[in-house]
């Protein structure tokens, strides 16, 4: 007999979370992390109790978007995520000393289960998950353990991204995972194909990364706030 005890407490750890929003998109470099982190900041600014969990272990970048430095979870019957700009933030970077995390699929799964089992999120209105690109262990584990997760899909105006997105949406439908909608990021304007909301390309965004105050003042954040409202998030 060899029983893994950790999954038994994951539901318990998430029971105080009202909504789990999984920010996904199956291509890399389309703005998932910036969308997830900015959405978390927007929700926190509106007064919602918000958490952000960076699940992109190989390319963790939520901390860079937030400009979160020198943070570490508090040990208290598990790990309590540090609060930064009103957002409870958890990321593998707390444990990697800013070094590469070269994990195979099964290891990613084990690390995600470990963090889900030991992280004490407490009461939250929203837990925003920054998903890695593609459908892989992280995505499958989230669907397995955070059964109430709603998908917020991000795409960009590219035939490649659109085609991959269409396949991902088909899978979510089969798996009965609710999809809040599709946001077309880096849009040139106009009516996007297959998206419910747009975020226009914002030349000022790059400079604002790492500065939450400046980030919330960008056109990107304004468009995202409109998109979030349109998609029934807040």
């Amino acid at each position: 007999m060899n029983i893994d005890p950790r999954p038994s407490v994951i539901e318990e750890r998430l029971k105080g979370v009202k909504r789990v929003i999984a920010v996904t998109g199956w291509k890399g470099g389309i703005g998932k992390s910036v969308t997830a982190a900015t959405l978390a900041l927007l929700l926190a600014k509106k007064g919602y109790k918000t958490g952000l969990f960076d699940l992109d272990f190989a390319g963790a970048s939520g901390h860079l978007v937030l400009g979160a430095k020198g943070l570490f979870p508090k040990e208290e019957k598990g790990l309590e995520p540090p609060v930064y700009e009103g957002v409870k933030f958890m990321s593998v970077v707390f444990f990697s000393d800013n070094k590469a995390v070269p994990l195979r699929g099964a290891n990613v799964s084990d690390a995600i289960i470990e963090l889900l089992a030991i992280t004490q999120w407490g009461e939250l209105d929203f837990l925003v998950l920054d998903m890695p690109p593609g459908i892989n262990d992280a995505a499958l584990d989230v669907m397995r353990f955070a059964r109430s997760a709603e998908v917020l899909a991000v795409t960009v105006p590219s035939v490649l991204a659109h085609d991959v997105l269409a396949r991902s949406l088909e899978l979510y439908k089969k798996l009965k995972v609710p999809v809040l909608g599709v946001i077309e990021n880096m849009s040139a304007g106009g009516k996007p194909k297959g998206a419910n909301a747009v975020i226009r390309r914002d030349p000022g965004l790059e400079r604002a990364l790492g500065h939450p105050g400046a980030l919330l003042k960008t056109a990107f954040a304004r468009d995202l706030a409109k998109a979030a409202a349109r998609l029934g998030i807040a």
């Binding site: 007999m1 005890p5 950790r6 444990f95 000393d97 070269p102 084990d110």
Partner: protein, 134 residues
Amino acid sequence: MHEWALAESVIKTAVEHAASEKFKKLKETGVVFGELQAIDKEIFAFALEELRKQFPAARDCKFKISVEPAAFRCKACAHEFPLKGLRKTKDEAEFIHFVPEMAHTFLKCPKCKSPDFEIAAGRGVGISYLKGGR
């Protein structure tokens, strides 16, 4: 004291399995600590005693803790190696304690220096057996 969260997972799983096995009484649970995670036995045992109050079905259960040595197998050169002798700082050991997969960030195959190895044994906390009365 992040051991508390793992102790809770052990006692909850033991109680749930005892129920599914239709045990009238949960008598003993075998708990295995993987050497890699370096769980503090005293803190873990203290947490179990506290948690026992919340799980009446485990009130009289003995928790027998054993440590499984860590064993690694390199995917690059097939070398098999133990934890002993692998160099890590105090901070790195702490990171591995929280998330054992961080071994791939901080440890390397002693033969070929690859971080692409398998943790073949002794990773983290597990349950090895349950004994109960029907």
